[in-house]
Amino acid sequence: MEDMIYTLQDYMLHTESITYIIMGISLICVVGFWLFLTGTEED
């Protein structure tokens, strides 16, 4: 069932939730990306 947005509170909760999830996933991904980027470098 599709969630309906009736108030600004609903809208902010919806968009901020997705934004924070994306930011959290990105922070985890950036570590993996950095390790992949520098993976072939010698110490």
Partner: protein
Amino acid sequence: MVIFEGSLSHKAFHSKMDKTYLAEHEPLVFGYAKAAAMVLFGYFVVKLVGVAAGNHWHLLGTPYGIWFLVEVLGFVALPCFLFTIGSRDQNLGLIKFTAALSVIGIVLNRLNVSIIAFNWQKPLCERYIPSWMEVMLSIFMVTCLMLVFRFIVTRMPVFYEHPDFKEKHH
């Protein structure tokens, strides 16, 4: 931009460059490529967050949304990936190609903001389209900048150390 400009300078002013400059060029390009990959990764996330914060997911299917995806995937995510591969494999040719792709992406982004998507809701006849004089003025300015750059690097010690000051390092 620095990698792209450096590649052009290498083609045009190779004879002006001394051994130290040439020796330091490649490691510098690999360092820039790594930095560019990280910056593009961050920019991609910022773009994604921008769509999420405005709850604009439904607009991605529209013609302007698809054009936005072309810009973000083709000229941000793809250069990010190619810079990463170029940096990992120490592939100078790939990094130079990706640098040119990124410069095209920057130009495309500025055109999207200032011309293509500017006043997008109005009909085409009411939208801003630069006149030929504005285009010629832009070409003139870029040509002047290139001539000034050429004037400086052919007359001043930019790509080489001045013979009188070789011993005096700071």
